[in-house]
């Protein structure tokens, strides 16, 4: 049974159609990355799936329950960590998790045990009795995540869980999400970070202006926009000669910048030795060689005509390709 099924889901605010009839399916045990820029409709979709907002059209089911007709059953099955960790700065971490345990209907003793275990798990045991207002951004997100897990939910919704975090805190959250998924939890993760979706998600849905514009595994999506290519820097005068030397090993791409040769190769890294040999036999010196694979941003550009927003420090630079392997000059 799919963990999440969405059919023609819509939400309007007055005249503005924020979510315009989206369809998606998330299987049990999957991490689904919902990728899109600010204002694309990610949070609105999550709020409908977590029963915080009523849809104005279509239907959605989570863990087999309808989000409108069986909202309470949905809420008993899911864990939610919303954008901008919704924490009370005056509570301590331990108080918050214990309160969450009560809200989820756990008996007092069990709630206390789970709270202690979760605080240990997210490395907040030492700070558990400090007020949340004094926590760092990363600690707040970890606490929010721990609170969402107190009742061992089948489906976990994470709305931009790493936005604004430093790289170390981000990596910690990623590891925790991966560990949860390894334990069988289905994760619905919204993000505006390409790297996050690429690293974590089994399947990715790209949303723009309230519509899903692409869906599939990260590899499938990237495959749709082209093969990997090798980017060679050979010096200004050697470009025509280098292009002739490697032309039969792949498909030459239009030149980009002085002294550069771009060659699409189907075999990826496996084609690098052949290219290096060909250049060597032609007596061409190579300053650098890089295997570049299409990124989800390339997919986004291909599908929407514009780049993702909010990529500051969030993985790949806007519009930049992702280097996979780098070779020394031949």
């Amino acid at each position: 049974m799919p963990a999440i099924v969405v059919e023609g889901l819509e939400r309007s605010f007055g005249d503005v159609l924020a979510v315009q009839g989206i369809d998606l399916q998330v299987d049990e045990g999957e991490i689904y990355g919902f990728l899109g820029p600010n204002g694309a409709g990610k949070t609105t979709t999550v709020r409908m799936l977590t029963t915080l907002l009523l849809p104005t059209g279509g239907r959605a089911g989570v863990a087999g329950f309808d989000v409108v007709a069986e909202a309470r059953q949905v809420r008993a099955t899911i864990g939610v960590a919303l954008q901008e960790a919704a924490l009370d700065p005056l509570m301590t971490g331990r108080e918050l998790i214990r309160l969450q345990a009560t809200l989820q209907g756990l008996p007092t003793g069990e709630g206390r045990k789970r709270a202690d275990a979760l605080l240990e798990r997210v490395d907040l045991a030492a700070a558990a009795d400090r007020r949340v207002g004094g926590y760092s951004g990363g600690m707040k997100r970890r606490l929010d995540l721990a609170a969402a897990l107190v009742h061992e939910p089948r489906v976990l919704f994470l709305d931009e869980p790493t936005t604004g975090l430093d790289p170390v805190s981000r990596k910690t959250i990623w590891e925790e999400v991966q560990a949860l998924n390894d334990d069988g939890t289905t994760v619905f993760l919204t993000t505006q970070y390409l790297e996050e979706a690429d690293q974590l998600a089994d399947n990715v849905g790209i949303i723009d202006r309230g519509r899903i514009v692409a869906e599939g595994t990260p590899e499938e999506l990237k495959g749709e926009v082209g093969s990997p290519h090798i980017e060679l820097v050979v010096g200004e005068g050697a470009v025509p000669e280098a292009e002739r030397a490697v032309a039969e090993l792949g498909k030459l791409r239009p030149r980009k910048g002085e002294g550069r040769v771009l060659l699409e190769v189907e075999g990826g890294a496996a084609d690098i030795p052949r290219v290096v040999r060909a250049l060597d036999e032609a007596g061409i010196g190579v300053e650098s060689l890089e295997l570049v694979r299409p990124t989800l941003d390339d997919v986004f550009v291909e599908k929407t005509g514009h780049h993702l927003e909010g990529e500051e420090g969030g993985g790949d630079a806007e519009g930049a390709d992702e280097p996979e392997a780098e070779a020394s000059p031949a």
Partner: protein, 261 residues
């Protein structure tokens, strides 16, 4: 565990959080205790001779007369503070955490009101203690004191309901905080701080129909003379009316918030 037991546990937990929140945020606590205490000290110190005026009800001291008004003021400000704290929860997204939990959603409002009622209880104990320390008699004895405490506690719940409704409808702490002067106007246009008989028009007529006058008289009577059925029943009726209004408005505002997100 039955739905009712679960609901009661949630209301208790949220009420406890609400009390902790008030104690940990001085700007919520000070209007409930500090401000009314200062006003009580200033009024009893400066206008104590007012009890000699013809038409002033027979009382042991001006402090004895004022205790009910101070308790009312603290109770109403507790209701306002509860509304502000609820609106802060909405603004920072904490209520989303509660709405996303498998609990009856009205339990969230009731939890907040339980906390507000507890603060009303605390305020009534504080002012009774001050009264006793500074020599005021509670003419109705322990039953009279318990009646006054119960009426104030229930009134805090009632006023908190209106504060919660405004918080839910607007989602803005500033708007709820902006009602602070209105609380004082409503109080001064009741018999909280001055006997109705000595007021001039139109304040006298407004005070006569102001439901908070009925409550304050219900609280004052056991302090200055003893328990009287008429005043008690009028106070209870006024409180029940405000509770129904507050809960009705809260339920409506909650539905609106859940519908619109």
């Amino acid at each position: 565990m039955s739905d009712l037991a679960t609901g009661a546990r949630v209301v208790g937990a949220l009420g406890a959080r609400s009390i902790r929140q008030t104690f940990r945020r001085p700007q919520l606590m000070s209007p409930i205790i500090v401000f009314p205490t200062l006003l009580l000290a200033i009024q009893t110190g400066g206008a104590g001779a007012g009890i000699e005026l013809p038409g002033f009800p027979p009382v042991q001291s001006f402090l004895q007369f004022m205790l009910a008004g101070s308790m009312m003021q603290a109770m109403m400000l507790a209701g306002n503070s509860g509304g502000i704290a609820f609106a802060v929860d909405i603004e920072m997204g904490f209520t989303d955490r509660l709405f996303a939990s498998p609990i009856p959603r009205f339990a969230i409002v009731l939890g907040r009101l339980a906390g507000t009622a507890a603060l009303g209880l605390l305020a009534s104990l504080w002012f009774l203690a001050i009264g006793l320390i500074f020599g005021a008699h509670i003419e109705g004895g322990i039953p009279g004191a318990l009646l006054a405490i119960s009426l104030i506690t229930a009134s805090a719940l009632a006023v908190g309901g209106i504060g919660a409704a405004i918080a839910l409808r607007t989602g803005s702490a500033s708007v709820v905080q902006g009602l602070f002067p209105l609380v004082l106007v409503v109080l001064f246009l009741s018999s909280a701080f001055f006997p109705q008989e000595l007021m001039i028009e139109p304040a006298k007529t407004i005070a006569e129909y102001n439901p908070f006058s009925f409550i304050v008289e219900g609280v004052r009577e056991p302090i200055i003379s003893g328990i009287e059925a008429k005043q008690t029943l009028e106070a209870v009726a006024a409180i029940v009316g405000i509770i129904l209004l507050g809960l009705g408005l809260s339920a409506r505002a909650l539905r609106h918030r859940l519908r619109t997100g």
